[in-house]
């Protein structure tokens, strides 16, 4: 596994725990949408839970008002890249 795949798996586990999803973290396709009608179908409540988990696990606060962040929550792959770029722990 590459370093980025390792982080993706780690983020998948955090995601599933944070929003209490009924899926195996290993089954999440890194390119499938996290939010909306397709993919995992997360909603805004999940986004808040996810932001808290990110703060606890990776030491930074998610912001919705920068354009980069909007893309960051698109799928598991982009979320892991966003976390990699901003993590303080």
């Amino acid at each position: 596994m590459t370093e980025s795949q390792t982080l993706e798996s780690e983020v998948a586990v955090m995601l599933v725990e944070a929003v209490n999803l009924d899926v195996d973290p290993a089954d999440i396709n890194p390119d499938e949408p996290l939010f909306g009608d397709q993919g995992l179908g997360l909603d805004s409540i999940d986004a808040l839970e996810l932001s808290l988990a990110i703060a606890v696990n990776y030491g930074f606060e998610a912001r919705a008002d920068d354009a980069e962040q909007h893309k960051a929550f698109a799928n598991l792959r982009s979320l892991a890249q966003y976390i990699q770029a901003h993590r303080t722990k």
Binding site: V16, E17, V19, N20, L21, D22, V23, D24, D37, G41, D43, S44, I45, A47, L48, E49, S51, L52, A55, E61, A62, R63, A64, D65
Partner: protein
Amino acid sequence: MLPFLNGFSADDPVVRHAGEAVSRTAFVAGVAAFRQRLPAVRYVVNLCESRHGFASVLAATLANDQITLLPPDAREATLSALCRRYESVAVVADAVLPSMDVPVCRWTPGETAPADESGLHFSEDHVAAIVHTSGSTGEPQPHARTWGALVRHARSVGARLNEHLTHIDKVVATVPSQHMYGLENAIMLPLQHGLAMHAARPFFPADVAAALCDDVALLVTTPIHLKSLVAAEAGSARLVLSSTAPLADDLARRAESALHSPVIEIYGSTETGVIATRRTAAGDAWQLLDGLRLRPGREGMLLEDADAGTVIELHDTLELLDGGRFRLGPRNRDLVKVAGKRASLAALNAALLAVPGIEDGAFVAPPASPDQSGARLTAFVVAPDIAEADILAALRQSIDPVFLPRPLIKVESLPRNAVGKLPWDALQRLCERAPPLDRQAGCE
């Protein structure tokens, strides 16, 4: 005739955004410009995300004798259904424009046209907005509000909060303007009390903290946001309003301490708007707004609004106390609320049983817990031949996604009694026995 802007002098800010302020004069000029661009239709769907855009389009629509439609969400399927139901519709948005087969136009800040400063007074009887709730299944349900009702409500809420509203620089809200709670408290309350609206809708705790910054702010929010603000230790406010889900008293106390502010919980519904308030950390009794009265009806409690001349039956059971106060009784066990949306368990169960391959099944509301703010529904199904993912995919077609079960638990049978009913207690016991939340692998 009642004014759109009450308590603002010409230079007072109506909207604040990133250090800039939009004065009453500039706001009115923007409305005058936009109303000329509004298509000549009967109904206008207002999807604007910024409070500046939302309030401007609401004013322009009133000025043009049109009616604002507010959808439960901005999904294309929802919008298409709304446009099919109402003929002669246009859609206005300020961010992503949906692709629709009705006229769609964009609201942008900064437009101006000559305007009569004394304008923007509208008739009390004008139907100002029709708010739509998602309903547990099927079509959005309409709830019409006249301009008079919106203004009267905003002013009674203001009268209740009076002592807290002095010296407020701006109103910051984390809720959409398109739902009744946001419309009444993030839009109408500031417009009727000379308070500036913070243009953006901050979402994450860090966004809310940045929006509050050092200003003296009124924060309009929800228990789930309060929970995240407490956890992130973000920001401070002069007054906090909370609604859309019950606020646990423990969370209310922690939020008061974290935000250095009283937290006032609002009781209301889309049908009624705000009807009562309480300071949750200080007691569980609600105080009705002035001018409202409760009396027992044949089925449930009736709410009388003498000024509006209306009587509405309430969904919750209430215990009347003296002096216009009441306590909420045991919850109506058929009604559940998730993410501010209300559904009937009976309707959700019907949708569940309609999924091919499900032999039996039932939704269960989560038991009350101190931090229930984010809680989802659980569903038990007897469905030996169909995978969980397929059940969820089928349900997604028929119910609002916030009600999708998490978890969805397969069982061999449901604890039905001799007459085939599912006693509430038996379902609660099933929930308690359900494996803990980290049981994903065991759910196969």
